[in-house]
């Protein structure tokens, strides 16, 4: 009906895309054989927002990211990107696939899965090469991405000789080189030392501040306030709560139920040792 009011279908499509949420999920379910990893998840992600998907190991965060990146396809329900349903049939069209891959980037949890090229330069150049950009443009964009992630001095190094923090920055550069409008991050700070963690967070804050959509899957509550404006909590593949980081982090019962808080024996400097659920707060030294 609305489409008839527009003379050009292209104008209509562009308008729908502009008005639509970046991602719209309606009752999405995905199973690994008999195990349900994502169970009837419905949510909407608006453009320019920073979202955290919070959950313990096995809660379905990584599977949800792979559904958003159209690496997996929903068994029931639907995932839409800018108003267009993501289906296997759509990805048979090269034009659609290249356009989507350029606009949405996923950084995997395990850098060894993400970094499959013999050198850092080849790694960062992989995606632009698949997009068949010109040699000059590839060279320029790769150097820009390496400068942004401060890895220019590593360009001829093989990825297996890098530290965990360096690998993570190379993995980020290999996705940011396309300048995607949506960045999906799977546990970006996992297994990193505190210094590398803070470097990654700083880089993400700087990049996300430019109006991009950033969706981070994590169980690290320490990074949520810095990297997200809104959170979804996942338990056994279901979204069980949502809210601002402040609302979620204040709800101790919710966090404990979702296995995001932990308890171990400790003392507060005085008195006897005891245990209760807690997080580890941080300080800002002078």
């Amino acid at each position: 009906m609305l489409a008839r009011r527009f003379r050009s279908p292209w104008v209509y499509s562009a308008l729908v895309a502009a008005l639509s949420a970046v991602f719209q999920l309606d009752a999405v379910t995905y199973k690994y054989e008999s195990l349900t990893a994502v169970d009837a998840v419905s949510l909407s992600i608006e453009s320019g927002t920073r979202i955290a998907l919070l959950g313990a190991n096995g809660s379905g965060k990584s599977t949800l990211l792979r559904l958003l990146d159209a690496l997996y396809f929903a068994e029931s329900g639907s995932v839409s990107f800018r108003g267009q349903a993501l289906t296997e049939q759509k990805f048979e069209d090269d034009r659609f696939a290249f356009d989507f891959r350029r606009r949405v980037g996923l950084v995997f949890q395990d850098p060894d899965a993400q970094l499959f090229n013999p050198t850092v330069f080849d790694e960062v150049a992989f995606a632009p090469l698949q997009m068949r950009w010109t040699k000059q443009e590839i060279f320029q964009r790769v150097n820009d991405a390496m400068d942004l992630m401060q890895i220019a001095d590593l360009k001829d190094r093989p990825p297996h000789r890098l530290s965990g923090g360096e690998k993570k920055r190379v993995a980020l550069a290999s996705v940011l080189v396309l300048d995607p409008e949506v960045l999906l991050l799977d546990e970006p700070t996992a297994a990193l030392d505190p210094r590398s963690q803070s470097q990654i967070i700083d880089l993400l804050i700087g990049w996300g501040g430019s109006g991009k959509t950033v969706i981070t899957a994590t169980h690290d509550l320490g990074v949520v306030e810095d990297t997200a404006d809104y959170c979804y909590v996942l338990e056994k593949g279901r979204v069980t709560a949502s809210g601002t980081p402040n609302e979620i982090l204040r709800d101790g019962h919710l966090l404990a139920r979702a296995n995001l808080l932990h308890a171990h024996r400790h003392s507060h400097g005085v008195g006897e040792e005891h245990s209760h659920p807690h997080t580890h707060p941080h300080t800002h030294p002078e």
Binding site: A113, F116, D122, F126, H160, L178
Partner: protein, 268 residues
């Protein structure tokens, strides 16, 4: 069991050390390190063909001497060449050449206990060993003075299919990941193994380790494929070629060609 684990650990460690040393040599300064990899592939492969076609030991000896000069100029320690190339090649080619010394008919040089060493047998063995040693030294010059990714890219110039080049590159990349996983598995087992296991248990443990490693490799390969798809891989692979041939590289190519033709002319 503990001896097997110790040997396995030592094997993993030496493989990683070898790779680290080779990468260090390749990325350092030196005569051949500065030459275009394509020129090195063409030139050194050409010399290997000349060595294989050589009918006189002096020709092979001369090319071996040139290879030694190039190794010296490229700052490759002779000790490393001896350990990595000459000793293993001598061992394996020696095993093959040894029977030829006794079995090749010809004029007797030495006879004892029913075994006769013939001059023709000695000559055949000398040809086999000198050819393999020289060809291996020339190949080692290529891989020890060129980072492996650049060797692979150079192969593309000689029309090696892009799929083969990418598979070789990914093999080189992931062999270290798998080695590290295997090393961690063996270390973990070593830390929990007390006493001597019977042969049946040893075989069962070894089989279980291989199975777990294979399962982890399959999981990793699935994730790698997804990571490739996520960045636009659609079944065709494209590589970035940034070689620049300078005047000096053309001079090197001419030098390799001149050496090859001189060697062939010398044995006419």
């Amino acid at each position: 069991m503990s001896a097997f684990i110790e040997k396995t650990l030592r094997g993993f460690s030496s493989a990683s050390e070898y790779a680290a040393s080779a990468e260090l040599l390749a990325s350092g300064g030196g005569l051949l390190q500065d030459v275009d990899p394509r020129v090195k592939v063409a030139g050194l492969f050409g010399l290997v063909i000349v060595v294989a076609a050589a009918r006189e030991l002096r020709v092979i000896g001369a090319i071996f001497a040139v290879a030694l000069v190039l190794a010296f100029g490229s700052r490759i320690p002779v000790v490393k060449l001896a350990g990595w190339v000459w000793a293993p090649v001598l061992f394996f080619s020696g095993l093959i050449a040894l029977p030829a010394i006794f079995l090749t008919p010809g004029s007797s040089v030495f006879a004892a206990g029913g075994l006769t060493i013939t001059s023709q047998g000695l000559r055949s063995a000398a040809f086999l060993i000198s050819r393999t040693e020289t060809a291996s030294t020339l190949s080692a010059l290529l891989v020890l003075t060129t980072p492996w990714p650049r060797v692979l890219r150079a192969l593309r110039t000689f029309r090696v299919p892009v799929v083969a080049v990418v598979i070789l590159g990914m093999t080189y990349r992931y062999i270290f990941v798998i080695l590290r996983t295997a090393l961690e598995m063996f270390e973990s087992r070593k830390s929990r193994t007390v006493g001597v296991l019977n042969p049946g248990d040893r075989r069962r443990l070894a089989a279980a380790s291989v199975g777990v490693l294979l399962s982890k490799s399959l999981q990793l390969s699935g994730d790698v494929h997804l990571a490739m798809q996520s960045r636009g891989f659609r079944g065709e692979v494209y590589l970035f070629d940034d070689f620049h041939t300078r005047a000096a590289d053309w001079c090197w190519l001419a030098g390799f060609a001149a050496l090859g033709f001189t060697a062939l002319w010398w044995q006419r």
